[in-house]
Symmetry: C2
Subunit: 451 residues, 2 copies
């Protein structure tokens, strides 16, 4: 096999693993010294729990808080378990309000208590505000770090004010304009501040088109779509009374996009996107086990239908040999439609509004592919078993199964979404159960009629 | 079923479809008037090709260019086909260099020729520069719109310069510091410009830690990881001589992240992430057909192994009934490992560096789950067929298949990656062929020895 070139990340990981192997705390620490918290988080996720315990205490406390926020929940809870209350408070007290709100529910109660004592009143109120919204809403996603100005001042006053502040919150591409009661009036882009003449009054510059405020109760998926479609860096969040309560920034939206995507892939195999790849063996076994159990039940349902045609199979053993082909073609065709429609729903392209034309298109595709492949399969079957009736039976079963597969694949995701069942998780299992059963019954049932 | 609340997007789509149904050009146009190009793009993707043709000419030419860039390739090529050369040039001439570079290869030659004539020399040179790099590299991703300053001036000179420019390129969170020869020296954050004292010299403020320049040949996946881990808004791109050649912005990185994620889901069913959900029936049939063909071949490989044990099955038809259970349990367990490892590789958490501990963990999980579920299945089998030998045979086959599945699921993605085969596309097919064959052979083979 050819030598593969290692990325700088892999080199770092390799060096770190050598240091861990040699129980060399100093060297391990040195390897992680230069990294950004996000990179430390990725390294931690690439280690086994034992290796993680070894390197974690060597990481700077100022990095630990940010890294805790970046790692997946499994790894986070391992690391939290291994930290003292004092260290937890020291690591997390500097975090943004939105990140703190995500971590607080996972901290032990004593740590939360100590942590709240270290925060000033204003900060505590902000945290309460963020935590009063669901984690997956705009309110749960927002942070409370933003700059506001009044509409009746001019650019030069704003510039003076910013210079007094000495620094701006990260990802500040706009400052928000509010009135005395904190009603949201609009926003002012930093590029406008930098390029406009000093004497121009803010009220004449307020842009409300790009910075349409987001209601705090909006679902995070909708927030992500808004950011993607409008190429936003940040957006103001208001409550139901039009009061400015927070600001969402693109870095958190990128995490939402990444998590949603991971979720849709992982849940196809019943996996949790927050699962630690290197989780302890027993923990992994237990989690995977549930999914295997669900699939075992569906497998037994499918084979129970085979059992009905025992006598027919006994008469013609070729049926037993060929039946997996019928089931598998249906499963593949159905999965194609299922994934296409499920992704379409997740990205907003498919909804009840246009599902009808999509179903008819998919069924037509299923019919055409059914006819085409049934001919191929019939010829292959005839070549193998020299049995014309068998060839016709399998061809008809394939056509039936591909049409049912296309219909189920298109219809299921929307039905499940309506029933508030995650189609990415449940769609595949239900679909293949349908295509297995229909495949076996169509093939063996038809055979029992004519043989 | 309960009434579902429509999002504002769905309401807009519904209104638009009514207008199209009624052939009401004016109303269709009005529905799309207020939307951002990204939203128009999503609407277009949610329409059938016929509906798309109806609404497209009514969309403002200034929106068309941006919308063309946002839609997936299938839809893009339909729309390009329907536009005149003049309209194409008018729609695209205002695009950013990186977006233009993406669209140019898809335009008809006459349009490219006319388009190049409308661009000034500098713009044309920029376009050539971007197009000289692969589309999926940092160079292909960058745009050439950025602000540079010298290191020997002070803040107030920069402020005066920006005010002269009148406007800044979108997503400008930093300006780049270069020398006379355009060597990249570092960057200056706009918040620094806004908050620092006017007389401070730039050379003392240059930050090089956050704005580490990206080499133009870097793969886009690595760029995306850098942006995610360091929470970047923009990043400078340099060539191999340290000359500043461009700037990558977060909006394009978000597209990379989204595309990578879509790709990994879609290719599991042999689908293309650029596929139009509402593609014409024949086109869809043809594309899906290939994947069905690949799977038909693997299905026949698997059943050919069943054929070897015809005589054994004839003796005991229960074998034929139960064999799908053995194959499917292996397929499910293997897919879990496969997806976990494939995603781990895609997100950089799994590599040759740590695959060994992962393989042993996964095989251990496979063994434990194999033992557990084989007992359950043996009991179910005994209950159904009252055949102790059959129960023991199926239990052993399950254990064997789950161990093989775990090993293959962990090993395959890395092997395929090394062979430069996309594991998200090929992994599933190869894996289920392995688990099918091992499942059938282990079960029927063991049975043929003892029955």
């Amino acid at each position: 096999m050819a030598e593969v070139e290692l990325t700088s990340f892999e080199v770092c990981l390799q060096q770190l693993l050598i240091a861990v192997e040699a129980s060399d705390h100093e060297e391990a620490k040195a390897q992680l010294q230069e990294l950004h918290p996000g990179e430390v988080a990725r390294i931690l996720e690439a280690l086994t729990p034992r290796e993680r315990s070894f390197v974690w205490p060597g990481i700077d406390i100022s990095i630990q808080g940010e890294a805790l926020k970046e790692v997946n929940e499994d790894v986070q809870s391992q690391l939290i378990d291994e930290m003292s209350v004092e260290d937890l408070v020291a690591a997390t007290e500097g975090l943004d309000t939105d990140d703190l709100a995500d971590i607080v529910p996972n901290l032990p109660e004593t740590a939360v208590h100590s942590l709240l004592l270290t925060l000033d009143k204003k900060h505590r109120e902000h945290l309460n505000k963020v935590m009063s919204y669901p984690e997956d809403s705009a309110g749960g996603l927002m942070n409370t770090d933003f700059i506001t100005v009044r509409s009746d001042v001019n650019i030069s006053a704003v510039v003076r004010y910013l210079r007094l502040l000495k620094e701006m919150p990260v990802d500040t591409d706009q400052v928000f304009v509010v009135d005395r009661k904190f009603n949201y009036l609009g926003s002012l882009h930093v590029s406008t501040i930098l390029t406009e003449e000093p004497e121009v009054e803010i009220s004449t510059l307020i842009s409300n088109e790009v910075a349409k405020p987001i209601l705090a109760t909006t679902d995070e998926a909708e927030v992500a779509q808004l950011f993607e479609q409008r190429n936003l860096i940040s957006a103001p969040v208001i409550d139901e009374n039009n009061l400015l309560v927070g600001r969402i920034t693109i870095d958190d939206v990128v995490d939402v996009i990444r998590d949603e995507a991971e979720h849709s892939v992982m849940s196809m195999a019943g996996l949790d996107e927050d699962e630690d790849v290197f989780a302890p063996i027993f923990q992994s076994t237990k989690r995977r086990s549930i999914w295997l159990g669900v699939n075992l039940v569906t497998a037994f349902i499918a084979v129970a239908f085979i059992g009905l045609f025992e006598a027919t199979m006994q008469q013609k053993i070729a049926l037993a040999i060929l039946m997996p082909v019928v089931a598998s073609m249906g499963g593949i065709a159905g999965t194609q439609t299922l994934i296409l429609v499920t992704r379409g729903i997740a990205t907003g392209r498919v909804s009840t509004t246009n599902i009808k034309s999509l179903i008819s298109k998919e069924v037509a595709v299923g019919l055409l592919n059914g006819v085409f492949w049934s001919i191929v399969i019939a010829i292959a079957t005839y070549y193998w078993f020299a049995d014309l009736v068998l060839s016709i039976v399998i061809a008809l079963a394939i056509i039936v199964n591909l049409i049912v597969a296309a219909f189920s694949g298109a219809f299921l995701p929307l039905l499940l979404t309506r029933l508030k069942i995650d189609p990415a998780l449940a769609g595949g299992v239900i679909l293949t159960t349908i295509t297995d059963v229909i495949g076996f019954v169509a093939f063996l049932g038809l055979a029992s009629l004519v043989i």
